[in-house]
Symmetry: C2
Subunit: 68 residues, 2 copies
């Protein structure tokens, strides 16, 4: 699953650390999400979508046929 986190973060001139703080996670979590190391949990996805003012469906790119 891909996401638009890095793209949106950069366009808004927010650092990884600032985003991490805003979402109450570590910077490591932001890095790993941006670089596709793992998927966000539902709650984190919701927080991130809220932060960027869009829906979860808009922030994440779900390709069907993906494993849990």
């Amino acid at each position: 699953m891909k996401n638009k986190i890095q793209e949106l973060r950069k366009s808004r001139k927010v650092t990884q650390q600032e985003l991490a703080d805003a979402l109450s996670v570590t910077r490591q979590t932001i890095i790993s999400l941006e670089n596709g190391k793992y998927n966000a949990s539902l709650i984190l996805a919701h927080r991130a979508a809220q932060f960027f003012g869009i829906s979860i469906e808009e922030l994440f790119i779900f390709d069907d046929e993906e494993n849990l």
Copy 2:
């Protein structure tokens, strides 16, 4: 985090087993989600929302101030 899975499943006369099969998870997972034992992963949330034809934000009730 709460969700409307049980409510929607019943209103559509779908059994837990049928829903589990449709979402490619075990019945145990459905039971635990319906009974609030744990939260769905983002991908499962997406599959469930698609199944019911609504958005993730409509299917899940996010109360802010929740832990990851």
